[in-house]
Amino acid sequence: MFAYAGKILHIDLTNQKTRVERVGEDFLKKYVGGVCLAARLAYDNTPKGADPLSPENALCLATGAFCGTIVPVGNKYSIATKSPLTGFIGDCLSSSYFAASIKRAGYDGIAIKGKAERPIYLFIDDDIVQFRDASGLWGMETWQTEEAIRSEIGDETVRVASAGPAGEKLVLFANVTNDRQRQAGRTGPGAVMGSKNLKAIAIRGTQPIPVADLEGLSKACLELSQTAQGTKTEKYRILGTPSNVLTLNRLGILPTRNFQQGVFEAAEKISGEYMHEHYTDKAVSCAGCPIACEQNVTVKEGAYAGTRTSIDYESLFANGSLCGIDYFPGIIKAIELCDRYGMDTMSTGVTVAWAMECFERGILTKEDFDGLEPYFGNHEAATALIEKIARREGIGDLLAQGVKRASEKVGKGSKHFAMHAKGLEMCGYDPRGLQTFALGCAVGTRGPCHNRSLAYEPDVRGEVDRFKAEPGRGHVAKDAEEFAAILDTMMFCKFIRGCFKDLYADSARLYTLTTGIEITPEEIKKLGERAWNLKKAFNIREGWTKDDDWLPPRFLKDPIPEGTSKGCVVKPKDLRMMIDAYYQARGWTPEGLIPKEKLIELGLEDIAEDIGV
């Protein structure tokens, strides 16, 4: 077998036992890797109805076929687990050296269940798995944890993925951090680690990863790398994704002050261009990436001098315009705190913005905030709230549960502006001015996500009229989801997607050169549909109903008040019409359930028996 290890490592934290499951070519060709493989592992290893924070919930990691090889941007891994934030599938992606280490240690995937009696960390040293005491690490920030583990093991090449203090405290949007500044960010996998008393996973992988046709693969990879260093990715290299701030602001869809506005009057001051001029040190890359999109920034003076982190658009909007904050050092500080404590910057920013609106509307008072006055724009209050959330102190205990639960507890009309779907906080594109993406946000299996539904692209690029809802958007959204699912299963970074002449044919070619397994472009295309249906099946098994595919009230009732998208709203009847069309495009029932025949067609016969109708 080439490129694949053919092994899944199962770890039981309760009994401190491990076992290795052998998987064959047929299984690996069907699930390939990444999101699809991780979702399959989560489906198989988490029993129906499991509490996400219980020992029964499995935390599943999966690499991809290209991981650890010379294929550019292939060093990625996925985590899938039952999300404590949504109660549905929580599938995340991260990248870099930790991912390659999993494969080099000899595993395609890892499934972790149970709960350790006391804090531990795992040290996977090729074939040997050690359950090590982590009592000395408990409470440590993510960056410190990595260094401490490497120091304890005495090997700088050991790679670490860890939960921060937020994960230990079961902040529901706690993330998993690896290689210092890469995160499996959304849906709360860090809280799942915390619930298992699992502080970190350290890996030393030393095994070679042979590929089927090294000469052919080298040639293909050189071509892809050269394209990836050309004009098609220049937008990522120069400013990174923060370049979105000004364009989305101009289109009137830059989420501002908790989605009360789509235009931020101070957008220039939080733009990628401003960041580049004043704060960027350098752009860095993940392991094996020719693009280098990640913008490392440092605050050089003032109260936050010395604060360093990396910034992308989603972190920037959530902790910037969404909170009405135009003080860039304050935004950098907020993101740095999230990274150190191990919290999703997006959910954190959206939650802080909700708290700010509660404060401005008098729903929550200065007393509720322990003396803080978190009006929009108050960066000091925002960073103080982030500290409270991470420690679950005072109001932080409420906010640590995300906006869905917090608004249900606070009431007083605050659910109207709790900006989430399925319990996951919104991403940084106002769907009122992007009608196809509105559909994508409503039906997303993990909640609203720009990375799982690329449906904003046809809207922004003018392939469809972004202001108009119509039945044809069902197919558009489906295709965008499956395109993303293929990237997430092949484990290509999305930033390289513009470099393929034909994603399906190019992926098939690279896959065969790497693994020696023949696969056709049609089979690659089917893979995206299989991955999406697999995740949906997980949700159906966990009690999903049609009512879960919906948007927060603000998007349905409050038109965007100004700017290019002024007056835009998602009309409930339009959303219902598009959702119905989407179910039809997917071959699902009008209730959004999956027919047995569809699951059998996708090779998911056992799941057809479980949840098919």
């Binding site: 994704t241 923060p242 101009r250 992308d312 692209e457 999305k494 930033f495 290019t564």
Partner: protein, 92 residues
């Protein structure tokens, strides 16, 4: 006619301008606008503009007034329209 072109991302980096006025003939197409921009900012040629054809390099495109995307450079803009030379990134 005179047209306002708003510059984003790489276009702004290369030109050091947020917005420029472009003078073109009344029956000019967007390709003529691209040519005028390239003449004014030669550094656009290559990274932003295909020198031989004056096509915009993928992923750059024109949005008109922030409301609709020009699907072709053969479109004839109207006076007073704002042309946004832009792109959108994904992910992060």
């Amino acid at each position: 006619m005179r047209l306002t072109v708003e510059l984003y991302g790489l276009a702004r980096q290369l030109s050091k301008e947020k917005e420029v006025m472009v003078e073109v003939s009344d029956d000019a197409t967007l390709r003529d606008v691209v040519a005028a921009l390239a003449e004014r900012f030669p550094s656009f040629l290559g990274p932003l503009v295909v020198p031989e054809t004056y096509d915009l390099v993928d992923p750059y495109f024109f949005n008109i007034d922030g409301r609709r995307v020009a699907r072709s450079l053969d479109i004839k803009p109207k006076e007073d329209e704002h042309l946004l030379l832009m792109f959108v990134t994904a992910g992060g």
